[in-house]
Amino acid sequence: MSSNSFAYNEQSGGGEAAELGQEATSTISPSGAFGLFSSDWKKNEDLKQMLESNKDSAKLDAMKRIVGMIAKGKNASELFPAVVKNVASKNIEIKKLVYVYLVRYAEEQQDLALLSISTFQRALKDPNQLIRASALRVLSSIRVPIIVPIMMLAIKEASADLSPYVRKNAAHAIQKLYSLDPEQKEMLIEVIEKLLKDKSTLVAGSVVMAFEEVCPDRIDLIHRNYRKLCNLLVDVEEWGQVVIIHMLTRYARTQFVSPWREDDGLEDNEKNFYESDDEEKEKSDKKRPYTMDPDHRLLIRNTKPLLQSRNAAVVMAVAQLYWHISPKSEAGVISKSLVRLLRSNREVQYIVLQNIATMSIQRKGMFEPYLKSFYVRSTDPTMIKTLKLEILTNLANEANISTLLREFQTYVKSQDKQFAAATIQTIGRCATSITEVTDTCLNGLVCLLSNRDEIVVAESVVVIKKLLQMQPAQHGEIIKHMAKLLDSITVPVARASILWLIGENCERVPKIAPDVLRKMAKTFTSEDDLVKLQILNLGAKLYLTNSKQTKLLTQYILNLGKYDQNYDIRDRTRFIRQLIVPNEKSGALSKYAKKIFLAQKPAPLLESPFKDRDHFQLGTLSHTLNIKASGYLELSNWPEVAPDPSVRNVEVIESAKEWTPVGKSKKEKPAKKFYSESEEEEAEEEESSDSSSDSEGESGSESGDTGSSSEDSSEDSSSGQESETGSEAEAEGKRAGKRNSRLKRKSDSEDGEKKNEKSKTSESSSAESSSMEESSSGSESASESDNEPVPRKVAQAKERKPQQERHPPPKDVFLLDLDDFNPVSTPVALPTPALSPSLIADLEGLNLSTSSSVINVSTPVFVPTKTHELLHRMSGKGLAAWYCFPRQPCIFGDKMVSVQITLKNTSDRKIENIHIGEKKLPVGMQMHVFHPIDSLEPEGSVTVSVGIDFCDSTQTACFQLCTKDDCFNVNIQPPVGELLLPVAMSEKDFKKERGMLTGMNETSATVIAAPQNFTPSMILQKVVNVANLGAVPSGQDNVHRFAAKTVHSGSLMLVTVELKEGSTAQLIINTEKTLIGSVLLRELKPVLSQG
């Protein structure tokens, strides 16, 4: 042992020489060529030569061998100079292997490692995100303290990178830098803070990991990202999910009040019996009604789908979250999933069973339905068997005990004796906990005393001893039986137990006890220490009760004990002699000797070995080991009073500002209002609408002050509690109010001009801007909390109201399309039964959420004059109709495409009452009709406009055009290009957005046409003729970019035309609406290729 730890402390010990020697004779190197070289020195020489050759294949071969050496744990550090030269190699595989080498040895060869740094610094600026990411990865993995400033700089830069993948790597690098130089903590926390705000699912897991490693106590950083994390959770990769869930569990325990109540279920009575948690009692004192914080509910609801994960770690993480923070009545859902994990590998089983064991002590009911899943199979490893047994014991009750005992009978006979012994203990525990079966168990155990296997008998004896001790009734028979066993049994524990039992009951078996002592005196010297001690005890007890028969025997034994080799026994002998044998020196104590030896002893409590584990968070390493592991973060008790919940509110503007220059946020705001499609966006908005005073404003020390003061006030005054107790009712109100508030916001965005001006001024003072936010987010925010300058806010709200009333018509229209839009959204902050983000919804939503910040609808570049026939004059009995797309934002609703219909009377009489009759629209489609036209004179024509929500599809809208006497079936099929609204964006934004819409969101085609067709003006003309796209200014001559968003959902549609040599061009479309994307591609392709 000691030599082990010694060698182990030495990082690279002297074992090398021996290893190298070994290597010389072995031929384990990846390629067989090695056997030729007899000495190690030569081999390395050879490798050096290969590395210096100018053939890549030789270098690669050398690097492969070197990696082989590293993998075996052999020292290859002397090759460092030769290897590091190749860091800039063009060959990607050589480069990778050099990286592997560098990361392994840079620490040992710091000076030489610096040679490679410039390569990485260059790569950090590479246009390819993967190269940037890998450069950052290697740079941060080289543990060379000198480059800490460079790393810091690189991390800072990467954390603002446009690619989420690079930002993910930045989050990883934070931990590496922190372990290299903890001094950088403050700076790193800043980066973490920034990255926590990131909305990409890629980044979330990694940054939370960094948070846990660097500053787990800075819970304040989480507040404003809490809801976002909850909402993103389902889509984060599985490893990230585990980390985030564990962190959020801790968070919830500090921020919410306990949902555990007295009347939560029958179980709790039991719980009180078992557990004396302080908070449990405190809770029962105050009986105020409890309502769960919506954020608390959000977490519980959003983690539930993850119970279905294929990853055992995720399931366990959710299970522990439910265990620690959900109301007791809801924790039941986890048992099914945990039981499912039992089918997994032995290691997974082991951990899961351990956790179930802890849970089942406190709440039997949870796992009772799955009792049979814990039945033991003979093929299970012993450690699994004992854990299952433990759980079975915990689950035993009056109802199932007979089944269980039958099952235990099988186990007792198991060939695995260790397991059989454990079963006997289990039976003992069942016997004590369930009084109905105590006698049955005892009888069963006594039968086992005649078992052939010694371990089984010994264990039975020990258990019977405990049982008898608890029931000092008449069990003389059993004791006699056991006394007989002394002749045959050799296991010391069992012998000791029997002796103790006889001693305790020596008055009940007056004949046997002295005889036993006699026998034992004979064998005293050859007994185990444990047994010797009990012989001494027995002697003493008999001396006190039956000194006539045993006086001499006891003295003989005491003499033997006096000269025993073991000092414990000598001590005990001396002690007993003084106590029981009366002599002049013995003090007052000897009078009480009988009381001392034959006192009523408290019965031992047979307890589960998992009893004391519940103070560790489930699913942790500490719980498994039952020791506090280093870095274990204590789960705090629930707070008495919840801290101010408003700290979790997030302002919209805040997030929009994140990655864009300040100047832009101004125009982003109105744009944002257009897009409320993605769920995440919605959450954001709703948060802002619920938002009370967002105390920690976006900037300025002043807002920080208000933040702290508002927190204080919420604690002092009862405003915080108020919102809690009354929150149920309020929640209802909020839900109802939500729609209104949304409407208000919409109308706000309508008169966006005005607001823009206001927000412009608001930027000068942040306090003002936050109150502006509020007023725009509707009046109910005022009701929620009133820590901020209330009067002013109310005044502003009032100011606004008349304004809204002045615009009733648009409000009506919005009501219409919001109706079908609302159910899709999940009100994030409110408890509703609906499950929040599904995978698909989020898949669609995610991109948008990161992209929407820079979109601004622009005017169409070009309005085609092409008209389509709606109704021919012949079939229309004189009424002719055409339609065209004016490419204007529709005035009837922002999801509609405006269509102009020109009606003409070609007959010779008046046509009266022209209107739209029955509509046969596909599901989801909506249409806003024109006002009926009373009459149309012959040869007269009139143009009306309608709005149709095509739901971003090219499906046909069928409806009837009716006159006074006739109805004509007509239909409008939109060209895909008309389902778009042009968008103005910069080239940079375009590239960023496009970077996020790769993979399945990208479709492309190659176009071949004559060069004259590829002049910029031609392309522009052709493209905008087909589709309502906005041109994006391009820095390159051969790349043309166009951008638009779909009318219904507002998804971006990015079109790129890249001219290649010859007469080809690459046409690429990036959009989430892949369907429209591909249709558009199909339409654009022929247009571009024809002359």
């Binding site: 990883h172 290691e347 060939q415």
Partner: protein
């Protein structure tokens, strides 16, 4: 999180090590060896071991130990699950996860480990992504590589990691577009001495092999989805669709993967397809015993039961067995005391049986428990739970894929107590 990884073979040689942070000496494994010695059986080595400075979390797979070194608190399942994922990846790449395969491909192994963890935190674990980064070895490629000097590392950088579909690689193309689903159900059961069922449940999985071009969006529906009691999903499945419509809707990864695994609860009666008649007895004070088992079909839904094997761990006192099978062949290993009887198919006309004498160690007390029988079997074209795939629809792509569903029922942990 994960500091280092050591791969150890059965004889206790550390044949591969990889460090993600600073190097940890091999000697840390001594604590592991100590625990291994104490456990006697490899199955009983505790997965989590605490040492003075580190914690060791290990898994045992295919006769190899994967021992990871941990320094701070981490959910143990996180590490265990990850190590299994590593082993799965090796299996996927090399066809087997053995010492020889790993040693032969040590460079690929190293590259894989490098990609899978960054600073001890998992980075890319999806096989689709990894295969884009590092090409799996094939015989053809290794020949080509050795001639041209090109490599296994992908030339193109993967896009999957950056897209919304992190589990599917982009630009998949097949000439034959196929989608196969294997519904595999395993019966876990404990049958007691008298032949009545103590415990039985069905554990099922649907393994998919999808070779479809482009970005297909599939939805798979069942005739009787309510059967599925508890389901776990591949991340590609849209949970909400399942919740609301009980339809599996997903954009699949490319290649082989496990779509779902499910459990059919023990509340539903589970049909047990075989019965065993057994009479095993050891005579008191004599050195022999009798052994007689017969297997017959029961509730087999008209399908043949095949691939039957019976494995029995005989008590330690058994020296040898002298048996005659009416069908198939048997082996008895006197060292491990394992009796294995390879039965094959059951023909109802003539039930297979295995009879004979057991030689016991003379003088030793007779074993008090009869050994339990572990039975393996297979029934083709039947999902014992009655689960049926209704239809598979594909959206998002134009071509018509070839679709196939296969059902098979197997014995899982099927144990008969005697």
């Amino acid at each position: 999180m994960i500091h280092s990884l050591f791969l150890i073979n059965c004889s206790g040689d550390i044949f591969l090590e990889k460090h993600w942070k600073s190097v940890v000496s091999q000697s840390v494994c001594d604590y592991f060896f100590e625990a291994q010695e104490k456990a006697a059986d490899v199955e009983n080595v505790p997965p989590v071991i605490s040492t003075p400075h580190h914690y060791l979390i290990s898994i045992y797979r295919d006769k190899l130990f994967f021992v990871s070194v941990i320094q701070t608190e981490v959910p143990p399942l996180f590490v265990i699950e990850f190590l299994h994922r590593v082993a799965d990846t090796f299996q996927d790449y090399f066809g087997e996860c053995s010492e020889a395969a790993i040693k032969d491909n040590v460079v690929i192994v190293y590259e894989l480990l490098e990609e899978m963890l960054d600073n001890g935190f998992p980075l890319a674990t999806e096989s689709n992504i990894l295969k884009e980064l590092i090409k799996p070895p094939t015989i053809l490629r290794s020949v080509v590589n050795s001639i041209t000097g090109s490599s296994n590392v992908g030339d193109t950088l993967p896009t999957g990691q950056l897209s919304n579909i992190p589990w599917r690689r982009a630009g998949v193309k097949y000439t034959n577009n196929e989608a196969y689903f294997d519904v595999v159900e395993e019966i876990d059961a404990i049958i007691d001495k008298s032949g009545s069922t103590v415990f039985a449940e069905i554990q099922g999985v649907i393994d998919a092999c999808i070779k479809l071009s482009g970005m297909p969006d599939l939805s798979l529906s069942f005739m009787n989805p309510r059967l599925l009691d508890d389901v776990s999903f591949h991340p590609c499945i849209r949970f909400k669709r399942w919740e609301s419509e009980r339809v599996l809707s997903f954009i699949p990864p490319d290649g082989n993967f496990r779509l779902i695994s499910y459990r059919v609860s023990s509340q539903n009666l589970v049909a047990i397809p075989v019965y065993v008649k057994h009479s095993i007895s050891f005579k008191e004070n004599s050195s022999c015993g009798r052994f007689d088992i017969t297997i017959g079909p029961k509730q087999n839904m008209g399908k043949t039961i095949e691939g039957i094997t019976v494995t029995v761990h005989m008590p330690k006192v058994v020296l040898n067995m002298n048996l005659t099978p009416t069908q198939g062949s048997y082996t008895f290993d006197p060292v491990t005391k394992v009796l294995a009887w390879d039965v094959g198919k059951i023909t109802p006309q003539k039930l297979p049986s295995l009879k004979g004498l057991v030689n016991l160690q003379s003088g030793a007390p007779k074993p008090e428990e009869n050994p339990s029988l572990n039975i393996q079997f297979k029934i083709q074209q039947l999902a014992i739970s009655g689960l049926k795939v209704n239809r598979l629809d594909m959206y998002g792509e134009k071509y018509k894929p070839f679709k196939g569903v296969k059902y098979v029922t197997k014995a899982g942990k099927f144990q008969v107590r005697t």
